[in-house]
Subunit: 414 residues, 2 copies
């Protein structure tokens, strides 16, 4: 598929408008720039009531728009869509935060002719500020009126979700069911900083025209995120608003996908691949990132240790700044593995970066500095850690730590 | 005490010289600058064989100079001193690393007229490079010949330990024993980056003229580091060379300090205070740091949760960049507490920074932006997190994350 956007599956519409949160003065808006960051409210709706499942942040503190959405999904009822705003996270403001989100959802539901608990809510941005409800209510008419299945409207809904993202993150795949019928899954995400398992993206929404129950979507999603969204780290921080939502409206027709069937396997596989694709895009677009870094561990004692090791290296500011500086200071990777908490024999560890062996049996190997410099100047850096403890494997996607990360996050709120 | 330096306790001498590791060409050395970073080998010796105890990095990968020292201390024999070099960590080079350290120690022991296993070794710097043994052996005569108890020699031994440190970290205290006799404890440390429990400094050495057994020094040291060295975080990375060594030569005379005695309590107290003093100096001098940040939690469920919370906030790059940017984005502190793994009621959390209440019962409070700006412009930032789960308390010292952290660590090796 050439172009990927959220309204590719049948029976979905999207829109993105400005409620004046990102840009106070409309005169400053460059309407000719489709990626202009002035868009700040997104709406994605299904033409018909749809099944839904989600996975959410592991943070004990949760945003109010998100807790409202969790309640809706847990109720087991069908939904029509989701409204997402950037700039204000609607978190840490107390119970009024749920009421604020409810007001926006109700206004949209009124215009769509559905009930307010069919419209989910998601917010991302600064914590501790209330949603500008009046501004957002004023934007609702144009938000609903501009709903469309065309490509530009879909992209607009993505732009409206973005905060410090520098590129949109949109994916799609079409798979052929056993009966020859085609179904489509599309996804979009915002996520750049404050990213670490669990969960690994601030907000991601998938739409699909597959005929699948909420329960089975939930199962597929849980498996899909395990080594994708839950294996991205930008800075080790976990947002209070992280969520991945999948909405399935069945508009592709056909029999309902059943558990354990070949069709189900195809669906889960496609959802996993799209999730991995988004996870890679998020790590590549980490705040201030100049490098995409994939860390793999082989031969760890067990899954627990394998995860400890890739997480430890992915979180290490010393490893991340060394990669930014293109400095072959691979001893820092050894150090991060050493303090990960995993048990291993330090005299039986090999570390390769970009295919070059730097440590063999725990001892630094003579390497060609020029070759290492060339390798470290690449955008994609592949770190392989090989142990002799067992056969557990894990991997993680991350990025380097640059001046710009500090710059972006030193003045995010103001 | 006005001036603090390592040779204040009776019967200790120190020196610091250049072996050409930091600065290849002696012509580039500014000998008039006492803090000039050209010094790279330090020696601290006791006139008589002394008792010793140490605590070491929790990293599974340990530097070879350090493993050699651990063997010496574990043997229970008395020691004469310690040689410390900066620039090369002597880690990740295999068994030859122990032999290299041994050669340096033997040469020093020969000149001092003691056995090589009376000279401990410590190294800090780049991992994966061998010690330049020939260069270091050439420096041994001047290292031993310049041993002195004078203040400048003591400072030189501190300068020679420093890597990215910008200020020396030297402390001392004199306490009066029950019999009226005065004993002195002095300490010095290097440590700036790659710092996180356990342990919190790369290398710290204490000398004392107290008459105390190795076993009791060990007990006092273990207690002293708990909420001091083990409560400093600069970047969440734990070095393979971290160690704190206490050498006691008994030259103050008097009866041996006994366990549980008033004198022992005074000794432990003084060692703890000096350790806290160094811990604060290390956090203040964190690589690229522009702020010293103290994080306290009150009312946590238990000690385990209390530590999770202060560690989570201290490690958060988002909190650390916000403090660098003097941005009142205190929602990030709430977020870091939320994902710490500690259990607490998010609707019963208060967060104060610099005495200003930002969150009350989990809800963002209206605060005066001007007052917040003034407070955040201070060098010392005090974060208080108040929960209602129990009565556990903990604290951690850290610093902010600046452009300079990235700069220093993007090109440390080269």
């Amino acid at each position: 598929m050439e172009e990927a956007y959220i309204t590719l599956p049948k029976g979905f519409k999207a829109s993105g408008v400005s409620a004046g949160m990102k840009c106070e003065d409309p005169a400053n808006i460059n309407k000719d720039d489709p990626k202009s960051s002035y868009l700040d409210v997104a709406l994605i709706v299904s033409d018909v009531p749809a099944n839904v499942a989600g996975v959410y942040t592991g943070n004990l503190v949760k945003g109010h728009s998100l807790t409202r959405t969790i309640d809706i999904i847990n109720s087991g009822k069908k939904v029509r869509g989701i409204v997402i705003n950037s700039k204000v996270a609607n978190a840490g403001v107390g119970k009024i935060g749920v009421e604020d989100a409810d007001k926006i959802a109700s206004a949209i539901a009124d215009k769509l002719g559905c009930s307010s608990d069919e419209i989910m809510t998601a917010s991302t941005g600064v914590i501790g500020s209330r949603l500008p409800v009046d501004k957002m209510l004023k934007a609702v008419p144009s938000l609903v009126d501009s709903l469309s299945s065309d490509e530009q409207s879909a992209h607009n809904s993505e732009y409206a979700m973005m905060t410090t993202d520098t590129v949109p993150k949109e994916v799609a795949a079409t798979i052929t069911m056993k009966d020859g019928r085609e179904i489509t899954i599309a996804g979009q995400a915002k996520g750049s900083g404050m990213i670490h398992p669990n969960l690994a993206t601030m907000i991601s929404v998938f739409t699909t025209d597959a005929n699948i129950s909420s329960e089975l979507i939930g199962k597929a999603l849980k498996n899909a995120v395990k080594h994708t969204f839950n294996r991205v780290s930008v800075d080790g921080d976990t947002s209070v608003c992280d969520s991945v939502i999948v909405i399935a409206n069945g508009e592709a027709g056909g029999d309902e996908i059943t558990d354990g069937s070949e069709d189900y396997m195809l669906f889960e596989e496609a959802l996993t691949e799209l999730s991995e694709d988004i996870a890679r895009k998020i790590a590549s677009d980490g705040e201030g990132a100049t490098k995409f870094i994939e860390i793999e561990v082989f031969g760890a004692k067990d899954e627990y240790d394998a995860k400890l090791i890739v997480t430890s290296v992915a979180r290490s500011p010393l490893c991340k700044t060394a990669f930014f500086g293109e400095d072959a200071n691979i001893g820092r990777v050894l150090t991060a593995v050493g303090y990960s908490g995993a048990s291993f024999d330090p005299e039986k560890i090999d570390i390769l970066v970009g295919g070059i062996l730097f440590f063999h049996d725990g001892v630094c190997v003579d390497f060609d500095e020029d070759e290492a410099s060339r390798m470290l100047s690449n955008h994609d850096i592949h770190v392989e850690i090989k142990l002799s403890e067992g056969d557990a494997y894990d991997r993680m996607f991350t990025c380097d730590f640059s001046y710009d990360y500090v710059k972006i996050n030193g003045s995010y709120r103001t």
